[in-house]
């Protein structure tokens, strides 16, 4: 099924949430709508799935405008589209009956078989009799996915399917999304604020910011030429840098201004002098009070600027101190974020304003253009 929208606008009580959105969903592909929270992703999804009406503009399904459809035609159309909300609502009944809900509405003949299969895929068959209200958020998300998937929709909308999930649930859901696309040739539309996820899954990417699509295209294109504001929005990823690839002392490095970070040479991104992006996972950074010798190629002295307790895990923000003071680059700020356990923080006596060494392997720096 082809879904296309033209000039979609939506306002709530005079506040514009979507501004003149033009979007065409790529069929049999994974489409990613990325943007920070509050960009309008959920509102856009509700309009594209006919759960809500646009203030102005038109949504076309296989070329026919949705505003001209009769209620029966709309119902039939809706039954070909699946949607999983960000915080899915669980019906106050068992896991099994939650998944069977849509099939019952359709008076399906093989409810038991289909529900069993779907629950086994999301690895929840063992708790099929449990009340759906007692599930963890990861389990609820899996039930919601099974509940939508069991209806075999031609197109499936997933609103932040992996936000705040446990690793197991994330793994299951990721696998499932790929499987649906590969084996069932389904069209997937996924909203996420996670850049890396979009990069991994997205074949077609739409960047939504404050109700407008500021960039769209094939994933490679979008990640090839991101606008600076686009990059800034995803600082939450942990460490996202923009720098220049250089060769120094015979090794390939990324010049971040204050410091130069050694990276693994990669012929694909090997254009020396090119401006590139790099990500570094906070958990890949090692903190120490003394410099130490190791195989890790990058070790810098930094000053702790901020420490944030996120449930037993401390996020430490550090500003690197350049080795040669007086360089013109000193003014540019390139904070690094590392995560440590509360116990490490206590044992090392880390405080804001202290200086620490931070070390990471060149291979942990993920460079992309």
């Amino acid at each position: 099924m082809n879904i296309k929208a033209e000039k979609i606008c939506k306002s709530f009580n005079g506040k514009e949430v979507l501004r003149s959105i033009d979007i065409e969903i790529a069929e049999s592909r994974i489409n990613c709508v990325i943007g920070p929270n509050g960009a309008g992703k959920t509102t856009l999804f509700k309009i594209l799935t006919l759960l809500d009406k646009a203030t102005s503009g038109e949504v076309y399904f296989d070329g026919s405008p949705s505003s001209l459809l009769s209620p029966e035609e709309k119902l039939n159309l809706r039954r070909r589209i699946g949607m999983v909300m960000q915080n899915p609502f669980m019906f106050n009944t068992s896991v099994w009956k939650n998944v069977a809900y849509g099939l019952k509405l359709r008076k399906d003949r093989n409810i038991a078989g289909k529900v069993e299969k779907a629950l086994k895929i999301v690895e929840l068959y063992s708790i099929k009799e449990q009340s759906a209200l007692t599930l963890s958020s990861g389990e609820a998300q899996r039930v919601a996915l099974a509940r939508a998937m069991v209806l075999e929709p031609e197109i499936l909308f997933l609103d932040e399917p992996m936000a705040n999930l446990d690793p197991l649930s994330t793994k299951i859901i990721e696998g499932l999304i790929l499987k649906m696309e590969n084996e069932h040739n389904a069209t997937i539309v996924m909203a996420t604020h996670n850049l890396l996820q979009a990069r991994r899954f997205g074949e077609r990417v739409f960047v939504l910011r404050q109700g407008e699509i500021i960039q769209q295209g094939r994933a490679e294109e979008v990640f090839h030429y991101p606008s600076s504001s686009f990059a800034a929005e995803f600082m939450e990823v942990g460490n996202l840098f923009r720098g220049r690839l250089i060769i120094e002392e015979g090794t390939q490095k990324l010049d971040l201004g204050r410091i130069k970070v050694e990276v693994v040479p990669n012929s694909e991104f090997g254009k020396i002098g090119a401006s590139v992006f790099a990500t570094l996972r906070p958990e890949d950074i090692l903190l120490s009070l003394e410099p130490f010798h190791s195989s890790a190629r990058n070790s810098f002295l930094g000053e702790i600027r901020n420490m944030q307790d996120r449930g037993g895990i401390i996020w430490v923000t550090m500003e690197p101190i350049p080795r040669f003071s007086g360089s013109k680059a000193e003014s540019t700020s390139t904070p690094f974020v590392a995560v440590i356990t509360k116990r490490s923080q206590e044992e090392m006596g880390l405080k804001v304003g202290m200086r620490v060494y931070f070390t990471f392997k060149a291979s942990c720096v993920n460079v992309f253009e």
Partner: protein, 232 residues
């Protein structure tokens, strides 16, 4: 003191022996109030569903009106009903005054703002979530409404119980429109009021015990129902 103990003693005797008069009064009380809640819910449920799910001009005004109507004293409702159904009133030809139907009518009117307001609170809280989920899974309009009612059932049950408790304990209004006619429109509250004034405490105490027990059981039931609902 001896007086009270005697009354209590004989009252218990009446209850235990399933006295015919006590039994018929209790039965009428229940059937009048249950019927009133039933008719009230026929109106309250669709109205609260409509108000929770649709935004239309004047919906806010209706909600505010319903909330204010909760505070209207029962005697005022009784007076209005009396004027409507008295022989010279606009509905006088129906001959409803001093019949159980008059009490049902008045009690239903009294219960409606309470039941509507309480149902509306629940339906507003979960209504849009259930609707979106149901519709996204392919529910038609009716299937969606049934799903919402199912999801809200324990809270709706609580609203009915509160409404029922309010009307079964109502005295003045019921007396005004029902007339407290022995064997016809005499219910627990009106009987207690009359017998007490007559100084005939035996029946009053017996009915009082039953009424208190009903109130007590309803409260326990209400807390149980709300307990089930609280998992959400």
């Amino acid at each position: 003191m001896q007086n009270i103990l005697n009354a209590l003693n004989r009252a218990l005797g009446l209850i235990i022996s399933l006295d015919k008069e006590v039994f018929s009064i209790v039965l009428l009380s229940f059937s009048v109030s249950l019927t009133a809640v039933f008719f009230s819910s026929l109106f309250s449920l669709p109205l609260s569903l409509l108000l929770a799910l649709k935004k239309f001009r004047g919906s806010r005004f209706i909600v505010n009106t319903i909330n204010s109507l909760m505070a209207v004293p029962a005697v005022a409702v009784g007076l209005v009903i009396y004027l409507l159904i008295s022989r010279r009133g606009p509905l006088g030809v129906l001959g409803l005054l001093y019949t159980p139907w008059a009490m049902i009518f008045a009690q239903a009117l009294l219960a409606t703002p309470i039941i509507t307001s309480l149902s509306l609170q629940t339906l507003k809280r979960i209504g849009s979530m259930v609707r979106e989920t149901a519709v996204s899974l392919g529910a038609s309009g009716w299937q969606m409404v049934i799903t919402i009612l199912k999801e809200a059932k324990s809270s709706l049950m609580a609203a009915f119980i509160v409404g029922f408790a309010r009307v079964i304990g109502e005295t003045g209004m019921t007396m005004m429109v029902g007339g407290n006619i022995k064997g016809a429109t005499r219910v627990m509250t009106t009987a207690i009021a009359l017998e007490t004034m007559k100084g005939d405490f035996e029946l009053a105490v017996a009915l009082g015990i039953i009424l208190l027990t009903v109130a007590f059981l309803l409260n326990i039931f209400l807390q149980m129902v709300q307990g089930f609902g609280q998992t959400r």
